[in-house]
């Protein structure tokens, strides 16, 4: 077990939950909520849906927590559940991962906002533009690169975890991330130069 101020590992927290300390699951939520919500937000492109699905994922994981195998990382398991849930949702809703501001088949135009850390009207506008550009750049990537970029940058998974989650050789993960970033860099050229 951990000593002093050292943080308990995910596996230790899971063991504590399984031994009846339900509050330790809250620590796992604290640890992963930011990454999970943002990962789902990038996939679903809707803040409410991302929060709702993140909650569903945590509940689903809790229900089968006794089946967790500590030889694998908890984060790999969590994001696998999240990815499957997101893909199911996308298929159900026929959400097309295309450019922003594009009309859907029902003729509705959708806009996606991101938080604006810069203050003032110009800052707001700039942040909005940047937020849109980031989402557009990510959406513009082919799916095989997009999912790896999101796993690395949003879910903050290690290369080995991504390789395990996707069932890919480590070299392929490195290569795809490299190519994906090159594409992103081109798409975000205006903002990279800031």
């Amino acid at each position: 077990m951990t000593r002093g101020t050292e943080q308990p590992t995910d596996e230790e927290l899971v063991a504590a939950v399984l031994s009846g300390d339900r509050d330790r699951f809250g620590d796992l939520i604290d640890r992963y909520q930011g990454r999970l919500v943002n990962y789902l937000f990038r996939l679903l492109r809707n803040a409410d849906d991302a929060h709702d699905m993140a909650q569903e994922v945590f509940v689903k994981v809790y229900q089968v927590l006794d089946r967790y195998d500590p030889q694998y990382k908890f984060s790999t398991w969590l994001f696998r559940v999240a990815q499957n849930a997101a893909i199911d949702q996308i298929r159900r809703r026929r959400l097309k991962l295309v450019s922003l501001h594009q009309e859907d088949p029902e003729g509705e135009s959708r806009d996606w906002d991101l938080p604006a850390p810069e203050r003032g009207p110009y800052g707001e506008l700039r942040n909005r533009e940047r937020g849109d550009a980031i989402q557009e750049a990510i959406d513009g990537l082919p799916w095989e690169y997009r999912e790896l970029i999101l796993m690395r940058h949003t879910a903050e998974l290690a290369y080995e975890e991504i390789a395990r989650l996707k069932g890919m050789p480590l070299g392929t993960v490195k290569n795809k991330l490299f190519r994906g970033r090159q594409m992103l860099k081109e798409k975000l050229r205006d903002f990279v130069g800031e």
Binding site: G34, V37, Q55, L114, D139, F178, E194
Partner: protein, 203 residues
């Protein structure tokens, strides 16, 4: 510097910003960067892409943790855990202790011996009588229900008119059900037409 070297160093830069580059290669990369402006620019751009992606993060709702914890349902593994049995077991032990205590008090109040034994027997017989009364009440209720059902059925099939009315009611209910099913079919067909096939690719 030739082109293939640059492409290799660019790959290494990607690994470096993720902390995945081995020390030996990092030293070679640093050596190369000190004399290559192009790769320095590449590293700067790469770090900026990282920062841009970091900046566009969605803040999580303040009540998210609480809402998840409140939504956690009781699970099978929780019920199987020994801790889940602690409270019921403690209550049983407590009740047993209280029963023993009461019987002891009754025994001592009766002055011990044969009278105490008959008090315990009396208590056990009373509990048995309670169970018997409960069983009899249950059987009585069941019997009354069957009798009531028999009376209704008897009246219903007493004459051809009531049998006909009953048949008409059944036919009408079936027609109603059929019309409801027919009304729902176009909605289901529309939904299945909208849902993409399992093999559809994302993106």
């Amino acid at each position: 510097m030739n082109q293939p070297d640059h492409s290799i160093f660019r790959e290494w830069l990607n690994l470096e910003v993720d902390g995945q580059l081995p020390d030996e290669r990092r030293a070679r990369l640093e050596d190369h960067l000190s004399s290559c402006q192009e790769c320095q620019d590449e590293r700067r751009d790469l770090l900026r892409v990282h920062r841009i992606l970091e900046r566009g993060r969605l803040p999580v709702r303040a009540d998210f943790r609480q809402s998840v914890l409140a939504a956690l349902p009781p699970t099978g593994w929780e019920a199987r855990h020994p801790r889940a049995w602690r409270f019921p077991a403690a209550v049983l032990v407590l009740l047993g202790g209280a029963a023993v205590g009461l019987l002891s008090v009754a025994h001592s109040a009766a002055g011990g011996g044969g009278r105490g034994g008959s008090a315990i027997l009396g208590a056990l017989l009373a509990i048995g009588g309670l169970f018997r009364a409960t069983l009899l009440a249950g059987f009585g209720l069941l019997n009354a229900s069957w009798k009531g059902f028999g009376l209704v059925a008897g009246d219903l099939f007493a004459s051809p008119l009531t049998i006909g009315a009953f048949g008409l009611l059944v036919v009408c209910l079936n027609l109603l059900l059929f019309s409801l099913l027919r009304r729902k079919r176009p909605v289901a067909a529309e939904a299945s037409r909208r849902t993409p096939g399992n093999g559809s690719r994302l993106g």
